[in-house]
């Protein structure tokens, strides 16, 4: 049996989109468009993840979350909210949301966050060694090797490659990397992520046949799991 997800979202266009994204990730997704019904469903059925909109008819997302936590239902919750309301994020996380995402968002960002939540809920939260193609990352020792050759990294470069490796094969948008690696909730004017990534790419890919760090405009960056192949 696959993983199950509950989406509580009143905007039908967004709801369809989110459900489609979750299905593409292998979830069987249920949808509720009303706050009170969403709370009843989340409390009654054992979901693996709940995606909760902040503004809903009949019962607000934050209230649903509060009630769920009061009922000791520890299901991972991803909150969605309006753009430009940084204060909402703090409030959401303090109320017990596991993650928070502002609409409009990139598909890759949403999927990466869902994947992170699923991983955190599962047992394999922090594996000691990450293997992506011919890249080997040792988390405790904080070392990176490609095809047996040691790649020196700075503190943040290590966090960057680790984050990319945890989501190997998937594009990660800049905003996701900024939050996970630098703990930033805003996009600096200069594309610092691009510059960091290109510096890391020079270290990682120079002298190797196949490019490991792939970028695509509008999508972000990914570590290619096939990079060890000839």
């Amino acid at each position: 049996m696959g993983e199950t997800a509950l989406v509580v979202e009143d905007d039908p266009r967004m709801a369809d989109h989110i459900v489609a994204l979750l299905r593409a990730e292998g979830y069987s997704a249920a949808l509720e468009t009303d706050g009170a019904r969403g709370l009843r469903r989340a409390a009654a059925e054992p979901f693996d993840i709940v995606v909760l909109d902040r503004m809903l008819p009949s019962l607000e997302g934050l209230d649903i979350l509060r009630r769920l936590r009061e009922l000791d239902i520890r299901v991972p919750v991803l909150m969605l909210s309006a753009l430009g309301r940084t204060a909402d994020k703090v409030e959401g996380l303090e109320t017990g949301a596991d993650d928070y995402l502002a609409k409009p968002f990139a598909d890759e960002e949403f999927v990466a966050r869902v994947r992170s939540l699923a991983r955190r809920a599962g047992a394999q939260a922090h594996p000691e060694v990450l293997l992506v193609g011919d890249i080997e990352i040792r988390v405790k020792a904080r070392t990176v090797h490609r095809a047996g050759k040691h790649i020196p990294t700075s503190r943040k470069e290590f966090e960057l490659i680790r984050c990319l490796a945890e989501h190997a094969g998937h594009f990660l948008p800049r905003s996701f990397l900024l939050e996970r690696v630098w703990n930033l909730r805003f996009d600096p004017q200069t594309n610092v992520v691009d510059v960091h990534v290109s510096r890391l790419r020079r270290k990682l890919d120079e002298g190797f046949g196949r490019e490991a760090l792939v970028s695509a405009r509008g999508e972000g960056y990914k570590l290619d799991p096939e990079c060890g192949a000839p």
């Binding site: 905007d11 266009r13 967004m14 989109h17 489609a20 503004m55 309006a82 753009l83 430009g84 309301r85 940084t86 204060a87 703090v90 502002a102 609409k103 409009p104 968002f105 990139a106 598909d107 700075s154 503190r155 943040k156 630098w182 930033l184 909730r185 805003f186 996009d187 600096p188 004017q189 200069t190 610092v192 510059v195 960091h196 290109s198 510096r199 695509a216 405009r217 509008g218 999508e219």
Partner: protein, 465 residues
């Protein structure tokens, strides 16, 4: 303005009140001088009248009983203990026939019909039939004493009037200053972003109470407008986010099913949408941060030096790529009350600008220090600086310097810096440093408590003592 500055230097009311009191004093002084002159005139008139009366009684005594009668009258008058005067009856050869003096001051020997002054004396001589001469003089010593005392009394009253006018001016100045200061303190708080500040209104409905309640009504209206504006921006955010989210979701869906060349094109469109969303998000961030100005909720102790180090770490790859040197001299070692994310964002914005406008091989100097109760952050680049007069506009939304049109950005970075500064009650100044630009940020430091939960490792360069 030093606290020792005299109230007259600070208070218009004190100056006006004192000026009027001084004018009044001058008027009183003129009146006093007039009073004194009139008094002197009356006193002298009285002296002349007694002289005339004496002369008249002597003439009468001579007319009735000739020389013996006159001598008797002169002797009696000359030895009147109640009246100090000279009375002399002089014979044909100039010998004294009667009187209380051997001689009379020469100045009194004149033929005028009216008395003449000589020193303390006011006197006259009068020839009688038969070759005799009568000389009498009034002693003015007592009159002078009376006039002197009057002058002293008037001068004393004048001095008291001057003192009262100065003291009155002071009191009026101080009381009005105290009331005006209350209103100024309210305006200052509003200027620093506390829109809920109100001036105290006295119960007696005087002009200051009217001013304060007028100000309060204006602030009330302003607060309502700000609230309405915030509601509008929230509403816009709500209205725009849905179409933007739909646009983005639709583009992503279209990209998934498209052939590679179309997918790449849609990828470009997604990136454009992303830029649009980020401008919109920045604008909303400015609005919500400005709206939260003066609100202490959600603020926690933040180590400024540590935040700057994080910002530099965030930019280290960019710094390396641009070949710019960034030097940081952390000398503050103190915390401030703030939102760490916002302060990092503020520093990232000014650092971003400094790096962006630095020539290759340029240098950015960042320094922090404590000055009194304040934390001071200065960031200086050696770039092109600001065009003349732009520093006042630099913090406005979408403001772009004429010499920065080639640089990327939407002109929202400094608007956000100002909003974040207002949120924290900080002061930001842009100073042309020739060459380059110096950004100065002044914040109120937290008193340095030892229970502040921050590891000492966060401040490696903290000077001892």
């Amino acid at each position: 303005m030093t606290p020792a500055a005299p109230v007259f230097a600070r208070s218009w009311f004190a100056r006006v009140a004192t000026t009027f009191a001084m004018l009044f004093t001058v008027l009183v002084a003129l009146t006093f001088v007039g009073v004194w002159l009139i008094a002197a005139h009356i006193v002298e008139g009285h002296a002349r009248a007694t002289l005339e009366a004496d002369l008249a009684s002597f003439s009468e005594a001579y007319a009735q009983r000739l020389l013996p009668g006159l001598r008797e009258a002169v002797e009696r008058r000359a030895h009147d203990p109640a009246d100090a005067r000279i009375v002399l009856l002089i014979g044909r050869q100039g010998e004294t026939l009667a009187g209380n003096r051997e001689r009379i001051p020469a100045a009194l020997l004149h033929a005028d019909s009216t008395p003449r002054r000589a020193g303390r004396w006011l006197g006259l001589t009068r020839p009688l039939l038969g070759g005799f001469t009568l000389a009498i003089a009034h002693d003015r010593a007592r009159d002078d004493a009376i006039l002197r005392n009057l002058a002293l009394a008037l001068a004393g009253m004048g001095a008291i009037a001057v003192l009262f006018s100065i003291a009155g001016g002071r009191v009026i100045g101080q009381t009005t200053l105290a009331r005006v200061d209350e209103i100024n303190a309210t305006l200052r708080k509003v200027g620093e972003g506390d829109l809920a500040a109100r001036a105290p209104v006295a119960a007696n409905a005087d002009e200051f109470a009217v001013l304060a309640s007028g100000l309060n009504a204006t602030l009330e209206r302003m607060g309502a407008l700000v609230e309405a504006l915030k509601a509008v921006s929230d509403r816009v955010a709500h209205e725009m986010r849905t179409p933007l989210a739909h646009l983005r979701a639709g583009l992503e869906e279209a990209r998934r099913g498209a052939p590679p060349s179309t997918a790449a094109k849609i990828g470009e469109l997604v990136a454009e949408t992303e830029d649009m969303i980020s401008v919109f998000a920045a604008l909303l961030d400015v609005a919500t941060t400005e709206a939260a100005a003066g609100d202490p909720r959600g603020l926690r102790p933040v180590e400024l030096d540590a935040v700057i180090e994080d910002a530099i770490e965030l930019y280290d790859a960019v710094i390396e790529e641009r070949g710019v040197a960034v030097a940081f001299a952390p000398r503050a070692g103190a915390a401030l009350l703030g939102d760490r994310h916002l302060i990092l964002r503020m520093i990232a914005n000014i650092l971003d600008n400094a790096i962006k406008f630095s020539p290759p091989g340029g240098r950015v100097d960042i320094a922090t220090q404590t000055r009194g109760d304040d934390l001071l952050l200065t960031l200086r680049d050696d770039g092109r600086g600001l065009p003349e007069g732009f520093d006042a506009k630099a913090f406005d939304r979408f403001a772009r310097a004429s010499n920065a049109s080639d640089a990327p950005g939407h002109g929202l970075g400094l608007a956000l810096v100002r909003a974040i500064a207002a949120r924290h009650g900080m002061k930001v100044a842009l100073v042309n440093a020739d060459p380059g630009l110096r950004v100065e940020i002044r914040a109120r430091a937290l008193p340095r408590p030892d229970d502040l939960r921050s590891g000492p490792h966060r401040l490696p360069d903290r000077p001892e003592g």
